[in-house]
Symmetry: C2
């Protein structure tokens, strides 16, 4: 989410490699709000999302910045300074990082896929830095919507419908700003005819052209 998805690791591997890699992984059910990992967490794990929705975020004092939402197929690691939390009931496959590294030694065919996943995560981070360092909130919002449009937009009555299932606060945390600012920007764009809101978390984009122009 928020840009091209962290690539689906499993799709890129043949069945045998897949099975070998996932040896030692165990399935885990998460309830809504459950923390999978936090900075300085005891144990390093890698995990793959089977279902549900996982939020990866940074926190400092009482602010939070969402790095990404993971859905089915998403892969991440609980090391790093990020918090990892299920925002709804979810299922994940978890494995120990150290053990997975060891498995990799005897599974060279999986290496390029792994490196590509890491590379995609890195790209995502760089995009975020670019956003935070250079763009104002309106630019970030436009870029976010434009990116989601490419991934999730569906034609609907002459416009493009975007069902994000995110509320204003969620979007604000993805952009590193406040709910109030997102709210007023979205309404300004609505007034300008760029989009309209068709219920909570549902947007109809009427002028993708102008949206993209704003994301530069």
């Amino acid at each position: 989410m928020h840009g091209p998805d962290a690539s689906n690791l499993l799709e890129r591997l043949d069945a045998l490699t897949q099975a070998a890699l996932l040896q030692g992984f165990h399935q885990r059910q998460l309830v809504e709000g459950e923390l999978l990992g936090s900075p300085n967490g005891e144990r390093d794990s890698v995990f793959i999302v089977r279902s549900g929705r996982i939020r990866v975020f940074l926190a400092f004092e009482d602010k939070e910045y969402t790095l990404t939402f993971l859905e089915a197929g998403g892969i991440y690691s609980t090391h790093s300074q990020a918090y990892v939390q299920a925002v709804r009931p979810s299922e994940v496959l978890m494995g120990d990082t150290v053990q997975t590294m060891a498995t990799l030694r005897s599974l060279p065919s999986a290496v390029p896929a792994i490196i590509r996943v890491l590379g995609a995560t890195l790209d995502n981070c760089m995009r975020i830095i670019e956003d935070l360092a250079f763009r104002d909130v309106e630019g970030r919002l436009a870029r976010f919507l434009d990116g989601m449009l490419a991934r999730k937009g569906r034609p609907h009555q002459g416009s493009l419908r975007l069902e994000l299932d995110l509320n204003t606060e969620d979007i604000a945390q993805l952009l590193g700003t406040t709910r109030q600012t997102v709210s007023s920007l979205l309404n300004r764009m609505a007034r300008e005819g760029i989009l309209s809101r068709a219920g909570n978390g549902v947007f109809d984009i009427h002028d993708a052209e102008r949206l993209r122009a704003r994301s530069q």
Copy 2:
């Protein structure tokens, strides 16, 4: 630079593995200001810095944000949306990414090192995001100085001397702010007795305690 260094890849490998990995790499001399890579550059390369100083930065319109400076031992890739530029005459060992990936398949012992390097780069990116999303410029500056202190500080007449070889503008670009703001913050810290400036790019930190407190 700017936090723990992107780990020195070569140190972590035995001589044989090293030689195998660097097969096909070629040495290249860079003059000051030379661009090694830019977003949408034709060819993907990996490179290792032998000497000199390389700046990795993002650019947008007329602003630039420096992600890191690489010195001897540093490793990076020219893929990604970053620009890579020699800020002084430098020597690098360059290799083709695709070919290096292929080499890796038959060199499983190098995989953990590679993954660790990628992981360190990712950690650095996350630290930057944390800074940009949560901290004001003074906090970022304090954190930057504190980090450099740990890596480059040398006792000097009862204080800790920091020879950064960076001017105010360079620091501003590392922090995502302007030269003027950095200048006034440094002078405020000097007035408060936290540090003093002993020439361009040289700082004496008198109160590391209070510096750290400001970086939270």
